[in-house]
């Protein structure tokens, strides 16, 4: 950890990065009450992430000296008013930057005026110095629930649909596989008889789906820590219990465990699911998966020109734990030192260590919580293990992998060396995709 508390090689951004949480909701628009560069910084961080009305489409007050001195509320009023004229949107979320935060503009009152006229508008404080985008994702979602979803409660009685669930898993854009993952969760949950509101991306039903959040019988949280505040909030607000799976289910072992956990919880919560059919679905998915692994094992065991035997992962806690478990048990690549770069709050770190520890009872996997990824690289630079190494990380790690002569798989952001569209790493198919990606890279070294 850096003594000064600095960060080198950013793999997450500040609170206003949660504008991507808004961008991921079909036809929603973030309105920034911030300095002129915030939108550019976020668009540049995530890349290829404009969606419907993000990036240079997002309205912004573009704080100047004048607003810093005299306040920017009047400017914000104009921008909001004119946003309604210029853009066709279903939901507007006003996010504040550092400037508005320090100057102390009363954004909530202004937004309330618009909301009072019936506009689907929400405000949330996201001054960059207050939180990371991992944390602010929950702030944004909870603000939408609190200020928008709550307006539709009379038509959406809490817990009125026994087989409907809200899923909180990938953080849009911060998880580069979010679209594919959410689609895959939705498909898997449908397979065990549940209708999942995934809330983000093309497989969600946009704001209409958000309005029905209260109806869900219970919620599912797939995350080591981020997003937990959403599940907690819904528990208090609508009495929805949640089942918490602590890492991303990648491959058969974890996906089976995940689906079984959800299935049992659903039954306990009174969902009307056909348990036999649900278990048959899990078995079927598993069979399809193992047909591939069975076929692949020969290659993994016999390929005589060299394959990676150990891996270092630099990613958020969800991926580090999930990929370690998956690669060890289902691919045969040994997880060595691992680095969690998501600035995990201290209170969650122990549980994450325990989760990783449970991967194997015969080996220790050294784990570092290191938001200063430049330092993580410094540590990794000095580590040497026998055999061919693999690094799974963000674009920053490509140069290090080259320096160490390791294989490199880009699976975290920033991702300048890889495009990810709708691929998923979650689920049975996600595991197979990880395998394809790793060995595609490895085999392409044999020219």
């Amino acid at each position: 950890m850096s003594k000064a508390g600095l960060i080198e090689q950013e793999r997450y951004t500040c609170a206003i990065g949660a504008m991507q949480t808004v961008v991921a909701i079909p036809k929603a628009v973030p309105i920034l009450h911030s300095g002129p560069g915030c939108g550019e910084m976020i668009a540049g961080f995530f890349e290829r992430s404009t969606g419907y009305a993000g990036g240079y489409t997002s309205p912004c007050t573009n704080f100047s000296e004048k607003e810093v001195v005299f306040g920017g509320i009047n400017r914000l009023r104009d921008i909001i008013n004119n946003s309604y004229k210029v853009l066709d949107t279903d939901l507007q979320v006003v996010l504040t930057g550092c400037t508005a935060g320090i100057v102390g503009d009363d954004v909530d009152s202004l937004v309330f005026e618009f909301a009072d006229e019936g506009k689907p508008i929400v405000s949330v404080e996201t001054a960059g110095f207050k939180a990371t985008n991992y944390e602010a994702h929950s702030l944004v979602v909870n603000a939408i629930i609190d200020q928008y979803v709550s307006r539709f409660e009379s038509d959406n009685k809490p817990k009125s649909e026994k087989n409907t669930v809200n899923l909180f898993a990938s953080i849009p854009y911060q998880d580069p596989f979010w679209k594919g993952n959410l689609a895959e969760y939705k498909r898997l949950l449908a397979g065990i008889g549940l209708k999942a509101n995934v809330l983000f991306g093309p497989e969600s039903g946009g704001v209409k789906e958000w309005q029905t959040i209260p109806r869900a019988a219970f919620n599912i949280l797939v995350s080591p820590w981020y997003g937990k505040e959403i599940a907690d909030y819904l528990k208090t607000k609508y009495g929805q219990e949640y089942t918490w799976f602590h890492h991303i289910p990648i491959g058969a072992n974890q996906t089976e465990a995940f689906l079984t956990q959800v299935l049992e919880f659903a039954i306990q919560e009174g969902a009307e699911v056909d348990e036999r059919k649900a278990r048959e679905f899990i078995k079927h998915e598993s069979r399809v998966y193992y047909e591939e692994i069975d076929n692949l094992a020969t290659f993994l065991l016999e390929f005589r020109y060299g394959l990676p035997n150990h891996v270092h992962i630099l990613h958020d806690a969800g991926y580090v734990v999930a990929l370690s478990k998956f690669l060890l048990h289902e691919v045969g690549i040994i997880p060595k030192e691992q680095f969690i770069t998501d600035a995990t709050p201290e209170k969650y770190q122990e549980a994450i260590c325990d989760d990783l520890k449970s991967t194997s009872d015969k080996r220790q996997i050294p784990l570092y919580f290191e938001p200063d990824a430049g330092n993580a690289q410094e540590i990794l630079r000095k580590i040497q293990h026998k055999g061919r190494g693999l690094i799974i990380g963000s674009g920053w790690d490509k140069e290090l992998a080259k320096e160490k002569g390791y294989d490199f798989l880009s699976a975290a952001i920033p991702s300048p060396y890889r495009l990810i569209l709708t691929s998923n790493y979650a689920g049975f198919t996600g595991g197979l995709r990880v395998i394809e990606d790793i060995y595609h890279i490895v085999l392409s070294t044999y020219a």
């Binding site: 850096s2 000064a4 508390g5 600095l6 960060i7 080198e8 090689q9 950013e10 951004t13 990065g17 300095g35 002129p36 560069g37 915030c38 939108g39 550019e40 910084m41 976020i42 540049g44 961080f45 890349e47 404009t50 419907y52 009305a53 990036g55 240079y56 489409t57 997002s58 309205p59 912004c60 573009n62 704080f63 100047s64 000296e65 810093v68 104009d78 921008i79 008013n81 004119n82 946003s83 004229k85 210029v86 853009l87 066709d88 930057g97 550092c98 400037t99 320090i102 001054a127 960059g128 110095f129 207050k130 990371t132 430049g374 410094e378 674009g395 920053w396 140069e399 290090l400 300048p416």
Partner: protein, 491 residues
């Protein structure tokens, strides 16, 4: 008057220093005239995300080979800077940097308590730690909105660190809210570099010319060779040492006066390096003037004439051939100031009709105060007026509206994100990242060929048009594009 004052830590922003504006609607000729007579900026009552000085200051410092950069602010203010590490790596062979090293980019990671108690201590510790970690030959500290508003003494902290570490530690004041003209960030970086890195010349070299540019291809080595001169590219891919002695060069030339105008003027005024009195060489007439100005400053006029004659003999027939093919085609340009004007001249030379432009800002005059460097004025006198000429700082809603009305045969863009809207409307759209691509006589040939290729290969944009997602309202597309610009009818 231009106010260059290296004794002050902060550069004066462009709006004040050279009266730059970000809102204008009219035609190019009127703007040139108004620029001489005093230009008034216009505000907008609707606006979208702009971009700010900090990333512009970053690109002129991050790419210095042996420097480290600290963004003094919350993590968000450095989060797009990874793009420059990619740029550095990818373009390094163009500058003979065969072993590109990782870029060292840090955030001091200001948190809420720092905004209450101040971030000076954190910055001081960060500088020390960065030095230990990188052993950089210079450390740049970029300021951000948060650091600026809470009033951290960045200059003082940097000065103390410099005394302690014995390397230049340079404060660059580039808070986003300070200027609406994001190119102020270039000036801010150059100001810091000129104050702290560039030394008084030990001698005057006749074999070196400063080229202020981004990271484009190396066209200048070939062009300078007949004069027995080499280019000193600054500041990307330069070294701390190379920058120190930029003061000894025979002259300075620009790839884009909006980028380097301030540094060129500082080098001339404070270090005695003359800037050549000609806008960059885009279009035949301007390329002639530029080579002549170069010849004159190097006292090698006859070499300039020889180059002009030889190159014209070789390239004019090719250019003429392209003109025939491009005649009658219409184009719309959206780009930063001087480079946008340069592109207008390139299009004019190739025989296209420019039916409009959205240029991100306008500098009525550059810091050199030389009218010869005014590229828009050159364009108007060489190729005539441009109608629908607007100054618009990447306000996408205005661009979409204008394009939707004007429907040119091709959209030329120079910054990311803008070509999308041409393509969504089915208009072939071209972005060329290399700022040197269209320069000189040979550049016209290269550029003309790319234009033809883009216009010809329109299948992709035609298909995209059929399926394009458009968040803009029907009402908006029916309003005049400058409805929300002051005086435009909108409130």
């Amino acid at each position: 008057m231009s106010k260059i004052n290296l004794s002050l830590p902060e550069v004066q922003i462009r709006e004040i220093r050279i009266n730059s504006i970000t809102g204008y609607q009219g035609d190019a000729k009127e703007l040139v005239i108004a620029s001489r007579e005093g230009l008034k900026d216009k505000e907008r009552s609707f606006s979208q995300c702009l971009g700010c000085s900090t990333s512009k200051a970053a690109c002129m410092t991050v790419l210095i080979q042996d420097a480290a950069v600290i963004s003094h602010g919350p993590v968000g203010c450095a989060s797009c800077l990874h793009e420059y590490t990619f740029t550095y790596r990818v373009n390094s062979p163009l500058r003979d940097v065969m072993q590109p090293t990782p870029r060292r980019i840090f955030s001091s990671n200001l948190k809420e308590k720092d905004t209450v108690y101040g971030g000076n201590m954190k910055l001081a510790n960060s500088i020390r730690e960065v030095y230990e970690r990188t052993n950089a030959n210079a450390i740049f500290v970029l300021t951000t909105c948060a650091a600026g508003i809470i009033g951290d003494d960045v200059e003082g902290v940097c000065q103390e660190a410099e005394d302690e570490l014995g390397i230049p530690v340079i404060a660059i004041f580039c808070e986003g809210f300070k200027s609406k003209v994001w190119t102020t960030g270039f000036d801010a970086a150059y100001h810091g570099i000129a104050r702290k890195l560039i030394q008084k010349p030990r001698k005057r070299r006749t074999d070196l010319i400063n080229v202020i540019n981004f990271w484009g291809s190396d066209v200048f080595s070939d062009w300078f060779a007949p004069f027995d001169v080499k280019p000193n590219y600054i500041t990307p891919y330069s070294t701390v040492k190379g920058l120190k002695y930029a003061s000894e060069a025979a002259a300075t030339v620009q790839a884009c006066s909006t980028l380097g105008g301030y540094l060129g003027a500082v080098l001339e005024r404070d270090f005695g390096v003359p800037e050549i009195p000609a806008a960059p060489p885009y279009g035949i007439a301007q390329t002639d003037r530029w080579f002549r100005a170069l010849g004159k400053i190097l006292k090698k006029e006859e070499i300039a004439e020889k180059i002009i004659a030889e190159k014209k003999k070789k390239y004019l027939p090719k250019i003429e051939n392209l003109r025939k093919k491009l005649k009658g085609k219409t184009a719309y340009v959206t780009a930063g100031a001087a480079h946008g004007h340069a592109l207008l001249s390139v299009l004019g030379e190739l025989g296209l009709k420019t039916c409009g432009a959205a240029i991100f800002h306008h500098d009525p005059i550059y810091d050199s105060r030389r009218l010869e460097n005014d590229q828009l004025a050159q364009h108007v006198s060489d190729y005539g007026n441009v109608t629908n000429f607007n100054v618009c700082n990447k306000q996408e809603f205005e661009l979409v509206n204008a394009l939707n009305r004007i429907r040119p045969d091709i959209l030329i863009a120079r910054h990311g994100g803008m070509t999308l809207w041409g393509a969504k409307l089915g208009i072939p759209s071209l972005l060329i990242g290399d700022e040197h691509f269209a320069m000189g006589y040979e550049g016209l040939v290269q550029y003309g060929e790319r234009l033809l290729e883009a216009i010809e290969n329109d299948e992709f944009v035609k298909n995209l048009k059929k399926h394009a997602i458009n968040p803009y309202s029907k009402w908006w597309l029916e309003q005049p594009p400058y409805y929300f610009l002051k005086g435009g009818g909108g409130k």
